[in-house]
Symmetry: D3
Subunit: 321 residues, 6 copies
């Protein structure tokens, strides 16, 4: 994929107007309050594993509407003290997989928690195990358009609520230092991290990596790659619904969540990314409510900085915790 | 797509063993009984349209679990007498669209009813309007793997029940001659037609056109084209679930439904069809419980006979009604 | 296909200079006169069909050079009075197919006539039956470059003449009200409709839907999709022929035909159309000689508005007839 | 393209039954006689060129129906004596191009004549200049289905006649030794060479290189690559025409022409050729009426042996002339 | 990719004849002896990292011809006792990347050593840093055909020697228990593991995962996917070199190396693997010189079992060490 | 490929700043001097061939570091006098092939010499036979990134040196008029021709045809087609190396070599060329140090003018020699 978006100089200054509904804060305050009202205490179950250096737990917590959502929690073996903690969200259609697959944060002395994205986890990797027990109106194959005509019914209302409630739940765990919780994630996980950052108080750091779910009005039509393209296909069939669809999406736009976040942020962007175009990432980073640093990967597509970027994150986070 | 399946001679004799669960009939009897128990009378609403030669109705009926499902009903203008009726089901991810898009049956003097497939209708065409208000476990993008670990939860349990209950509902309409109801459909619609044929009594004819949803154990892995391929991708992630998945699918296999059907059938098959391979179609046709004629389209892929086949169907059905 | 053409605001003002040969009108006047001179009266033959609500006719009329061209004529059953009439032209490489495949206009009370495009009809659908008994110089596979070095020999000279003479012929039919004839068509059919509109007198309406054959100098090289791309491939081989080729095409450019048309027009354009780029459609619409309304489909590719647009056309046309 | 056809051992023995019409010889005798009856003497025009070592001529001869067909004739500069001669036919949709592009035969001391394939020459390379002044019924884009419903009207009737009449014409040239004329060609050119070999008397050698146009009933449906695939697409639309189409093709099948040829033949075949599958080539080679050697290129697709094979041909032919 | 290779039942019995050069053992004995003769002691350099739970080392050892080759060595933090050790080789065109990217073995209490494949490491991931300071004859892009005309010059002679010498080097490290060294790798890494197993003494286990580099004569031509396809392309140009090429490859065929291996083996195979077709994997497993278990992934392509298979390996290996 | 680069008007004025290292001339002077110091006299061996009109020689000359590089030399049969000479370089991954494949220059009375590109010659055609006996650091498959971190080690340092030394060698041949040597080549061959033109004295003409290897900083990222894309993939893995990579490439940039060339040049450019974008070609042509004419092929992709352009070259060169 060659260069197709704004030039590097333009990107760094790109701060577009992005629509925000008047009741954005009220919508989310109500949403979180309703789900918190029906939630229960998280359950932590020790899991046997060959991983001698770490302790592995299956974490079951109450997400949207009290639905049980699962996560892995992995900590250095024998941890008894509260640790700085990294909460991670996953990319599109991946599940939490198996705990041995992502060990770098725990091996670096953090408590690491990895959320299963409800309903997803069958597209690649080793699977997920959290259902999404809510139906949907007509939708394109995929998750992007489930319930897209109504913010109340939209799929990501449930996912973002899960994410915010996972931050709550994690803070109740005895091996977590509630004052030192960071959120991170790649692609969809980065978009969820922006949302968690906007919806949670007192995070120590936010690390969205080539984040998805930002500046939908630009993204839809700028790229023909899924998942943004799912919205385009929906609108190609439901020809009169564009206004309503983009109104729904405005409640979930990473730009609007980023505006409300205040913890220090380290954002990555890949300048040839055809999946999450760089201008959509910069739109969120440049509107970020706190201090945000952006790391550019000039010749990468959506894979971004991969392990190189993790080293950047690890060094940056170490200075904050 | 060149020839890739059995030879024509082999196809015509192909009658494979297909697994059938011991409680197949009990499962479906219970399923239909439960949904019928919560159903309500169908509602017919006249729709304004420029189509002067026909009357158009929006039909809302109670499908699975009493969910409201929509359909179009189109009849010759001013119909007052019960007519022979064609109930049609749609292809994968299409919706019922707009009533002027399929006028041939009504223009030929039939009452024509076209079911909206729940949750679908956003993939192509002009849309659908029936939600699927039931959640799902982790699934591949698409509809094929929603709830696939449990026959009770499987997506097509709801769709096939909708289809059978639509036959019930249609028979209550005053412009329908309940003794002369035929079912038809192309691709997914053909698979649903087989199911409706196996689950309904007293149909006058069954016309599956290049039907999907037949002989899953052969189809999955024989073609790399969606929708069968969705199951393969699910199993590629959920590596231990093949037995459970195929057990679920056995309740929905067109072969097993075809075995129970008795009305005369006209089945079409395209010999170069990479989506619904011809051997999977012949598997159902050759196991059909009544008299089944097969029309072969030797050089067609999944488009099959198109309008040419409709003329075959129209002539064949005219002799039966 | 993401957005690739002018912005919506630019499109609406786009009114490019398009070359027009000095003898454009003389060329066409002579062409039509010569073919009219050798024409014979149209022949209408009733066709048996299961379509009880309509009467179906095979219409054979004299097209270019007196060649026999076929069309379907379908009218409400038992029509005896002159009706408002819709003459429709088909998309690239489609044939007139079977009469039951397009019933909406006749079912809405119009006489509907559907022209077979000479030589075409073997690319998709259910076929055509009109030969093109004229040879060609070297040409790319397809129809776009047949005779392209000479306006006299160019393929579309024959097709556009067929279209204009079909309007003549239709007006001789007893079930047609000659004062209320509209022309329409999708893609290539839309381009032919522009030509018929420019070459015929007294049409009541013109409805080109995502029209092809407009503003060749921009289209060739803007898209790599056939059929415009056929011209590019021809010029890639015949490296010195660009001037001559574009001179030929200027006689057939929808922009030049649109300039001469005066009947009210309803034009559709799909803003992500990679086959008939939106700027080429707007070029014709913005040069249209009469009143032209444009309906935009913002998220569609070449499929455009499909059945949704037919409803727009039907409502718009009803007000005119 | 991996191996997909018969095994090498099976190929070498493959001698399928191929349908041949009873009037095959009568058809061709009449065809050639009619065209010969209206033909005129070939015209040879010296062409200026920078090619000092050879003399270049534009050859215009009378082909099918007396149509003027062009060819290049290139001979060693100053040739005054009759030379052994190679007549070459071109691949699909190529033209005769420019004389400097193929110099190997003339540089080896042969008179070399390269026929322009009528109507072709716009698909690749540097072009052709021979029109095909005969119309056609509905056809797929390309040349394979022009007039395919009737052997009299079929495109290759004209091309094969051109080829046989070119052999006639060449023998009239003073720099040609009429007793030492060989025919050759690659792909379509190889198929034409088989036809020329079957239709001409007294050739010294025949060298079809990865020949096309052989064993149509197997080829159509075995490969999804054009040009054979053009026939499949035609039959996919014209669903009832298979018998008639294959009857037409039987007059043009390289197998049937090969049966009638008697000059020594050197045939090449590429075992991974997805365009001209090896079994279709062996079908013709194994039915060849004279002595035929086959050179296999085991790991090549349709490019075959390229320049390596020309060296094989040159050595083989040198022994015969 | 649908099923394309032998059936599961055939695969399990597949034990083809595979050519083996008479001097296979002599070739390798000499090769290893020569390189050992010029080798130097491995150098281990502690690397700073945020990974608190493990110690990370850069290991530089003498590979083929004494060339310096790099590896990562990662052990539980503070390890002082010899540990069971896993030596891992990488997939095609990947480098050793960064040490935090693969932590599962070290986190499970093993010393883990990961070899950089010489010259590779620029195709994906986070890079490699080992040059291949040896030239090559003409080769296809990629590594498969470098020096392929001569076993002495062939690229994998250097790589396999590196692998065997890494096993030597690892046994000299103080944190390694020389009697409990296992080798593993995925794809190319699995092929190298077979070679290391055949060339090394006293390994405790061998775990090739969807191994590449097995049964070349079948693989080349069975799949059109790289890297096997590189050989096919080479042979398509070098048309006379097949015998010599396959002779070279016979020294490197995983089947021949597997025959000589004796340590217990756990082999994985993906039944729909288009890159390393299952029959080529079974060919090596069924010829394996010791006890070999095969784990099948029935619906996977080349990704195979991924993290699920690592759990299988970890459990299996724990029983052996 | 549609238009994607600058407009024709912009292209003709495009004269970008291109980085040039301060020691460019010193680097090349030293490089050539070192290789000349170890070179030996060229060896010319007569080759048997059926090509009676020309004499064919295998030319072995000393290239970079004294490595033996091969070329074909072809001259009119019996040449005894010094002739004007064309030295040609080949496209990416092609070899010198067989002498009969390119006869136009020799047939026009020139001595023609065609260099084998070291290490290449296995990608297409009939092969090469010159090894590249120098190793490389980690590289992407292909030749573009071999040694790319260091100008001393970069692959094209060897190739460009070969080219300059071939000009030296050719001038020693008795059938060559040293004062009338021209260089030419297509694609990669055109880039090498620019380099040879900048590094050699006293050439009579330079004819780069759709040249590659020009203006790397623009090319990498503007096109996603190999070979430029190889550099992009390298940088996507080696995320910190861009500065060093582009510094290396600046020694090899056709723009910098063109600046130093003084012989008259005829450059071709294809305006839709996605492999060697037209702006990169114009960058070199507009910086050319002597008189440069540019021939545009407006509708061509990377095939450019093909045989049509050869005629342009032949006429242009004839005026100079």
């Amino acid at each position: 994929m060659p260069r197709f978006d704004l030039s590097p100089a333009e990107l760094r200054e790109y701060r577009p107007e992005v629509a925000e509904p008047a009741d954005f804060d009220a919508f989310w305050a109500r949403t979180l309050a309703e789900s918190r009202a029906v939630g229960q205490a998280p359950e932590l179950t020790r899991v046997e594993s060959p991983l001698a250096l770490v302790d592995v737990y299956d974490l079951a917590f109450s997400g949207f509407a009290g639905d049980v959502v699962r996560a892995w929690a992995v900590v250095p073996a024998g941890t008894t003290e509260p640790l700085p903690t990294v909460v991670e969200f996953n990319g599109y259609n991946g599940g939490r997989g198996l705990p041995h697959e992502r060990l770098a944060w725990a091996a670096s002395g953090y408590a690491w928690v990895f959320m299963d994205t409800r309903g997803q986890g069958s597209g690649w990797g080793t699977g997920g195990s959290t259902p999404d027990p809510h139906g949907t109106g007509p939708s394109v194959a995929g998750f992007m358009t489930r319930g897209i005509l109504d913010p109340e019914q939209y799929y990501y209302r449930r996912v973002f609520t899960d994410a915010a409630l996972l931050v709550d739940a994690v803070r109740e765990l005895e091996f977590v230092d509630a004052a030192r919780v960071a959120v991170t994630g790649t692609s969809q996980g980065g978009g969820i991290a922006f949302a968690a950052a906007g919806l949670s108080e007192g995070l120590v750091a936010v690390m969205p990596d080539v984040p998805f779910l930002c500046h939908f009005e630009r993204a839809v039509g700028l790229t023909d790659r899924d998942p943004y393209h799912e919205v385009e296909r929906y609108l190609a069939v439901h020809r009169g619904d564009a206004e309503q669809v983009f109104r729904t999406l405005s409640y979930f736009d990473g730009v609007n969540h980023a505006r409300r976040a205040t913890a220090p942020a380290l954002v990555s962007v890949a300048l040839m990314d055809p999946v999450c175009p760089p201008s959509t990432v910069y739109a969120a980073a440049n509107h970020y409510g706190g201090e945000a640093s952006v790391v550019e990967y000039a010749f990468n597509e959506h894979e971004g900085g991969q392990g190189v970027h993790w080293e950047r994150q690890a060094a940056w986070l170490a200075d904050l915790v």
